[in-house]
Amino acid sequence: MFAAILKKELLDQILSPKFLIISLLCLVLVPASLLLNSSSYTNAFREYDAARKEARNSTVIFREPSALSAFGLGLENIMPKSVVFSKYQMEARGAQVQSEVLGNINGKVDFVVIVSFLLGLFAVLYAGTMACGEKETGTLKLILSNPVKRSTVIGAKLAGGFGVLLIPFALSTLIGLLLLFVQGFPLFDSGNAARIAAIIVLSVLYLAALFSLGLFLSTRTHKTSIALLAGFFAWILLTFIIPKMSEPIAGLIRPIPSEEATKANRAQVRTQIEKEKGKALAPLMEKYLPNDGRGKWDWAAYTKARGPVAQSYEEQIDQTLQKFDAAYEQKKSARRNLSLNLARTSPASAFIQATLNFCRTGVTDLENFSRSLQTHGILLFRAVFKYSFQDSFVSDDGKINRSMGGDSSPEGKIDYPAFRFGSSSFAETLRSAALDLILLVFFNLIFFAAAYVSFSRYDVR
């Protein structure tokens, strides 16, 4: 019985015009997006490679673009292309504002977006007519007038309908991969093949969840027009409203000061300690670097004498700013996690978050990159910046009258630390995507169970 209904579903769906439309769209969009985005990646890699070779052993680091951004751009464009370090701060270049995480996740046209939006919509609408459509034509009554279990019917509908939906997906993905291979895209480098396989598996899981949701909606309505409307609304809710609303809601629950206000606070904290340092260094400046033309400057003596006095203040600045940055980062991270977790109530968001992690353009890699920058900043401070100084002379009324900068580094070549960007391994990515993976399986089970229960009570009259 199952085989007969499965065969019928496969044939019926393949012969329908909607299959042709979906196939054509997939065959055009999926390979085209892969080719375009791989070309963007190649250009970005060339730029990165040239800049990196040019700026070796400096205080500028460059981030290698992710090859798998060809599949999902995600946060690729909001992660900086390069970062310039100075003593107490770093300046990101070539990046957009980091707080727009979800906006950037949802904004670009790539494989992940095509699957989550376009194929997701197709999945809901495709399945949305499967039960009520047959009720409208009367064939459901005819089927159930035979000795067939309802569970067999709904199971065969899921398998057959979803199987047909997978045909254009699989075909277009295969063509896209072949084109990438021909173009010389590093499909098999750095574990890319395993990651691409994971992306495909996640796509199948996500589409199956939305298909089951469509099937459920189909068993809750008696007209295809209403089912399509309900499916469309569900799709808007899951792919737009929930992901887009999660960030503002998280902002309301966990408010944090803006980047600008934080920068100003940070500068204030630093200036305060700098002033104290200036006060402590004032006698030395007066002694070795007189500013009234009475004596000659003894720069070497000043550099030597300031060391023990300035050291404690500089360590205090370093530690205070590190704490300040860590506290702000923690608040930002807590809000980001809250918004991402709220968004996870939608399978679309769970799919996007997991898939982008496999593309190395997700939140995990953004956080890894931030951590790598902080570590590199500390290493640079120890190796390079601790020798440079900027002392300010502060008068009794607290005003900075003079600033003197210099370098107290020992003679010889400075050993610049190498920047190590801890790009996640496959196992790490799998761990970070585990929750989303479990959620997608859960959505599948819950939607299909709902469809099953609803169909078992479906009024077929």
């Binding site: 019985m1 007969a4 065969k7 044939l11 034509t137 009367g138 005819l142 007038s145 000795p147 009024d459």
Partner: protein, 258 residues
């Protein structure tokens, strides 16, 4: 000589929907092998509800439907092996050919290994044009679809056949052809329960005719009785009469005049 066991039997069957509407009120009827029973009545009289109860699409509030001695509510899958169904408006699968539709429903009906020629034979039997056998059903007229629908019922070769207003909307020629097929099926010993609005068709086809009103069976006549009575007049009189002016709660259907 003992009376054969009825193939289709409604035993004190009632159905009250969730909104409180009593769609069927203590119906008793039996259809034996080789017999055509026509259920006549206006819209909402309970004809389709009766068929839906036989097909286990809805559970009865009280009473039991029996198909070949099997309680439909207790063992619906076993019961459905012995009944075929033709609905009022058979749409079928438009993208499939007539043969593909027949093949699918034959498999569901427990006939997994029919040959193409066997399908053709059944379609010839219902006078479907040869050229239509391999045509997509979406190009079919309603009459052609009804013929294919009865082919599906024939190929199942079930002891009972339920027909829900099968001639509704058919042109006279198609309705006539349909009637001939029913005669043949009756001759093969099928027990046929048909709901219809068509008084003339009911009189011509039915071995027994039951009139339903507001969920109740209000009258039953045999073919012999109808030779001397005007079914149209009886029907109209019943339709005009006050609600519940007469009933047949009795399993043997009393012939109560309005």
């Amino acid at each position: 000589m003992t009376t054969p066991q009825p193939i289709l039997k409604a035993d004190d069957l009632s159905k009250r929907y969730e909104d409180g509407v009593l769609a069927l009120d203590h119906l008793n009827l039996e259809v034996r092998s080789g017999e055509v029973y026509c259920l006549l009545g206006a819209n909402g009289a309970g004809k389709t509800t009766t068929i839906n109860l036989f097909l286990n699409f809805i559970p009865p509030t009280t009473g039991t439907c029996w198909i070949k001695g099997i309680d439909v509510n207790k063992d619906p899958l076993e019961a459905k092996k012995h009944v075929a169904f033709v609905s009022e408006n058979v749409m079928l699968y438009g993208n499939f050919t007539a043969r593909q539709n027949l093949d699918f429903f034959a498999k569901l009906g427990g006939k997994p290994s029919m040959t193409k020629e066997q399908y053709y034979q059944v379609m010839r039997r219902v006078s479907l044009q040869e050229k239509a056998f391999e045509q997509r059903v979406k190009t079919f007229s309603k009459g052609m679809r009804q013929k294919l629908g009865i082919s599906i019922a024939i190929i199942k070769d079930a002891a009972g056949i339920l027909l829900d207003e099968p001639t509704s909307g058919l042109d006279p020629k198609a309705a006539e052809e349909f009637q001939e097929i029913l005669h043949e099926l009756k001759g093969e010993g099928k027990a046929i329960l048909m709901s219809t609005h068509d008084i003339f068709r009911a009189k011509e086809i039915g071995d027994r005719v039951g009139i339903m009103k507001e969920g109740r069976a209000v009258m039953e006549r045999t073919r012999e009785e109808l030779q001397s009575e005007d079914l149209v007049k009886i029907y109209i009189d019943y339709m005009k009469s006050e609600p519940h002016s007469s009933i047949s709660g009795d399993p043997h259907f009393e012939n109560v005049n309005p």
